[in-house]
């Protein structure tokens, strides 16, 4: 190198410092371009930061607001009532189980009689509907003051013809014998506006049913009384509780009103203090003075409630004793297997319920109205609260768990469905498909992204929902947990649609990941004599796994953030799904983080605790999305061996 003659070059310094001649408005164009691109990138970052700041600003006040509300909830005594009221809800469930069991049992005897009665009434209605017009005309003619016998005659004949035709046209179910059928036909044919009594056959059918029903009720008398006992057991307790609740609610309303007026007064006084114009100042002060509410003596009113603790406990104890007796009285046998199972469940559920009630009653003593609500318990009430209740006349609760579970279960369903579909499709397209197939598959899958999610929501409501419901009723599929399903709009339905929406993202990214697997790996594997399948599953997929995983995670991010479909299709029941149903839980409706914001934000008043709570949900949602995206990146980095 050194021996080579060096051509004459300008000194280094002058090369580096050589100034460019072209400038725009005194700026170097290179720099301008750099600033242009740089500023665009910073705009994105700034907007992101602004979003975070905005969300936080609106949402962060939620905790103190909610703290104040929960404080009032406690001080006014609502919490006290809820100690008993919450476990008492169980009474409803148990008693509805019993009612179901009872009606199932009764049906074993009275079902045919009832069906025959109902069928006969239905037939009568159908016949009357079919001949409604002539019947109407005849009725009108009969009501006219001077009757026109000729016209009435004609109308009567018309009605007779119409009825006869209708009697022939309706379908008689198998429940009736030929003879009964003929009798029914005869009686229906004789129906005219003047006849007010039920046709005799129908009367017999009604009587038949009543007999059967009485018979059934005597046969299952034990069950009937047990059910009645159980239902009545809660009444005295409920009465006391209702009185207390009314009192508590009254106190709360007063306290809230006082607080509103008080804050208003403070604000007016503040304004007055800073006002310079003496006239304005006077009017503000006057206004402030007017905004005075009667102070509520919380201590006084709470005494009226806690003063009855002993009475309440006594009632609870009585109630527990009565229901335990009812449980003991529950008959061992019921009409059907299903009914027996229900009765057994109730028999086992009652002692548990009684124990819970007694425990709740014991808790009453430890309750203090003036115990402060700490900010941590408020956070707990939000993040671990199991109830999201708004616009309640009793008390609003903003518990986050039902929404989170809904979102998570739906997302899990969607990912479980979408992952195999999109990964397999990506492998096929990338490795096995011919060029023509590729040209077909890729745009078609990517087109899914262009479908507006509200349209998918339509499809979910009208098509997928019915489809799932119909399929769930097929007899040979009854082994599937949760079948037959109750609700057409449920988490599974939403999960399916979200899976459909997530497929394009997951497919494209997985396909890219496979595409990025270096050609050289495939060469090496081929050269060693591997078959196509071996190469795919032993080399390409393992090498692309990081990309595939991050595709799945990004799909998850998309699914968690999706709103429209879940709002329309998930069923929007704000309750934690009943996981005791096992895997069948996926066929229950639920509400979601995104759905609740979309549904409620437009309706709440700005700045209210509800509004702030929705922003908190938004913050959490944002955090989840960030986390998922961050995980996707981390995964992509973690398993990227061929870039090492």
């Amino acid at each position: 190198m050194n021996s080579l003659p060096t051509p004459s070059r300008p000194p280094l310094r002058s090369v580096l410092l050589r100034s460019r001649k072209h400038t725009i408005l005194g700026f170097d164009p290179q720099k301008l371009i750099k600033y242009f691109f740089g500023s665009n990138a910073s705009v994105a970052i700034i907007v992101l930061v602004l979003i975070m700041v905005f969300l936080l600003r609106e949402g962060i006040d939620f905790l103190p607001t909610y703290q104040r509300e929960l404080q009032t909830y406690r001080r006014a005594g609502l919490e006290f009532c809820d100690i008993i009221d919450q476990p008492l809800q169980k009474n409803q469930t148990l008693s509805s189980s019993l009612r179901q069991a009872l009606s199932a049992s009764l049906e074993t005897l009275s079902k045919t009689a009832r069906d025959r009665r109902d069928a006969a009434f239905l037939l009568k209605r159908q016949v009357e509907d079919k001949s409604a017009r002539p019947r109407e005309s005849l009725a009108q003619a009969l009501e006219k003051a001077p009757q026109d016998p000729g016209q009435i005659d004609v109308l009567r004949r018309e009605l007779g013809a119409a009825t006869a035709a209708a009697v022939k046209a309706v379908d008689y179910p198998e429940l009736f014998t030929q003879a009964e059928r003929e009798q029914l036909e005869r009686e229906f044919a004789a129906l005219t506006p003047e006849v007010t009594d039920l046709p005799p056959m129908l009367q017999t059918l009604v009587e038949d049913f009543n007999v059967k029903d009485r018979e059934a009720k005597t046969k299952f008398a034990d069950l009937v009384t047990a059910q009645e006992e159980f239902e009545e057991a809660a009444e005295p307790l409920q009465e006391v509780l209702d009185e207390l609740k009314a009192k508590a609610l009254e106190t709360k309303e007063k306290a809230v009103e006082f607080e509103v007026l008080e804050t208003n007064r403070q604000r007016l006084l503040e304004a007055a203090a800073t006002e310079s114009d003496p006239k304005e100042k006077a009017s503000l002060t006057k206004e402030a003075e007017e905004s005075v509410a009667e102070t509520v003596n919380l201590e006084e009113s709470i005494k009226e409630i806690t003063g009855r603790t002993a009475e309440l406990r006594e009632q609870v104890e009585k109630y527990a004793v009565v229901i335990e007796k009812a449980a003991a009285d529950l008959p061992k046998d019921a009409g059907t297997g299903a009914a027996r199972k229900l009765v057994n469940d109730v028999r086992e559920g009652i002692p548990v319920h009684a124990r819970e009630m007694r425990a709740a009653a014991a808790k009453l003593e430890d309750w203090h109205w003036d115990k402060p609500v700490s900010i941590f318990s408020v956070m707990g009430a939000f993040f671990f609260g199991t109830q999201w209740i708004t616009n309640s006349s009793w008390q609003d609760f903003f518990g986050f768990v039902p929404l989170l579970t809904g979102s998570l279960v739906i997302a899990a369903i969607a990912i479980l469905i979408a992952t195999p579909v999109s990964v397999v499709a990506a492998i096929y397209t990338n490795q096995f498909a011919s060029e023509r197939e590729k040209e077909l598959i890729k745009p078609v899958i990517e087109f899914i992204q262009a479908i507006p999610s509200v349209v998918l929501g339509f499809i979910g409501i009208s098509l997928v929902g019915n489809l799932i419901k119909d399929v769930s009723e097929w007899s040979w599929l009854q082994w599937v947990p949760g079948f037959p399903i109750q609700e057409r709009l449920n988490m599974f339905n939403a999960g399916c649609l979200l899976a459909f929406m997530a497929v394009p993202t997951m497919f494209s990214l997985s396909e890219d990941a496979l595409n990025n697997v270096p050609r050289a790996y495939i060469d090496a594997s081929d050269a060693l004599g591997a078959t196509k399948l071996q190469t795919v599953f032993r080399v390409i997929v393992p090498a692309g796994i990081s990309g595939i995983l991050s595709a799945i995670l990004l799909g998850l991010g998309r699914v968690v953030g999706e709103t429209m479909v879940v709002l329309l299709v998930a069923g929007n029941r704000i309750a934690i799904p009943d996981f005791s149903a096992g895997p069948g839980v996926i066929f229950q409706p639920a509400h979601t983080l995104t759905g609740i914001i979309a549904q409620e934000l437009g309706e709440v008043s700005r700045g209210s605790s509800h509004w702030q709570a929705l922003f908190m949900v938004g913050i959490v949602l944002f955090a989840i999305s960030l986390l998922v995206n961050w995980c996707a990146r981390a995964v992509a980095r973690r398993f990227e061996p061929h870039k090492a």
């Binding site: 270096p518 090496a524 032993r538 090498a543």
Partner: protein
């Protein structure tokens, strides 16, 4: 190994290319090639860039099959006496007999052990002790065993470039092929690594038959027993290396060797 060995004065070649024409679609890449590769010899393919060395090499293990329009349009390629372009040839078996090492080292993103065992695994070997034994043998052949025996389960991508290329050689010989094809195996390596692989080549020739494409004429002289010179898709001259380099028969060869090539 020498199933087709017959009692002749010269043993039958392990690879024999006969009157072969090869084209990529409409463009013809090789013209009327005739080549015999002898057992346990190193055969070098040299020639200017684009003359068809890689194409010819890839004809021997049918790696060209992947290029859709690529066809052998005339003649045949015999490996151990069998035309590998016959319809009844099992590609998997062919490639088990004819291994290949690429220009750029391409170990899988797996452990060293798994890289070497890969060939056996895809041919259905599950027995752990057989695999262990094969891994040790192949790494020893590739002069890697001493260096790597303590970290067989480390990721292969953590090795140096030269080690990676030797690992690829170990991977290719794990299935005990008859022929080992190498397409410029040293072109991406530093001189020391190159030297190591050249030394290896002599060792390998004891067990395998090697066909190597190289741009480096010194390398051809150092490692090979026979050399074939290709030009514009034609095999210009094929002779024992010494003869070809000291006393080329063709003018074209001479010009190329001198570097006075137009």
């Amino acid at each position: 190994m020498s199933a087709d060995f017959t009692a002749q004065s010269t043993p039958p070649p392990v690879v024999q290319v006969r009157d072969m024409d090869f084209s990529y679609g409409a463009s013809k890449a090789l013209f009327d090639i005739n080549l015999k590769v002898q057992y346990h010899r190193v055969t070098a393919l040299i020639g200017p860039s684009g003359c068809g060395k890689s194409t010819l090499l890839r004809c021997i293990n049918r790696m060209n099959d992947r290029v859709l329009s690529a066809r052998v349009t005339k003649g045949e390629v015999l490996v151990k006496g069998k035309n590998i372009y016959d319809a009844d040839v099992d590609l998997t078996q062919l490639r088990k007999q004819v291994g290949m090492v690429f220009q750029k080292s391409n170990p899988f993103p797996k452990s060293i052990y798994e890289n070497v065992a890969y060939g056996l695994r895809i041919h259905g070997e599950k027995n752990k002790s057989v695999l262990d034994e094969a891994v040790e043998r192949s790494l020893t052949h590739a002069a890697l065993w001493e260096e790597l025996k303590d970290r067989l389960h480390a990721n292969a991508l953590a090795l140096s470039g030269g080690q990676q290329q030797r690992l690829c050689i170990a991977r290719a010989i794990a299935t005990v092929p008859d022929v080992l094809l190498m397409d410029e195996p040293c072109s991406a390596l530093d001189p020391i690594s190159t030297l190591k692989i050249e030394e290896l080549m002599h060792q390998l020739a004891k067990e395998f038959t090697v066909v190597i494409v190289t741009h480096n004429m010194q390398q051809a002289v150092r490692v090979s027993d026979y050399t074939a010179f290709l030009h514009l898709g034609k095999l210009v001259e094929f002779a024992p290396t010494e003869e070809l380099f000291t006393n080329p028969r063709e003018k074209l060869t001479e010009a190329y060797l001198r570097g006075t090539f137009s």
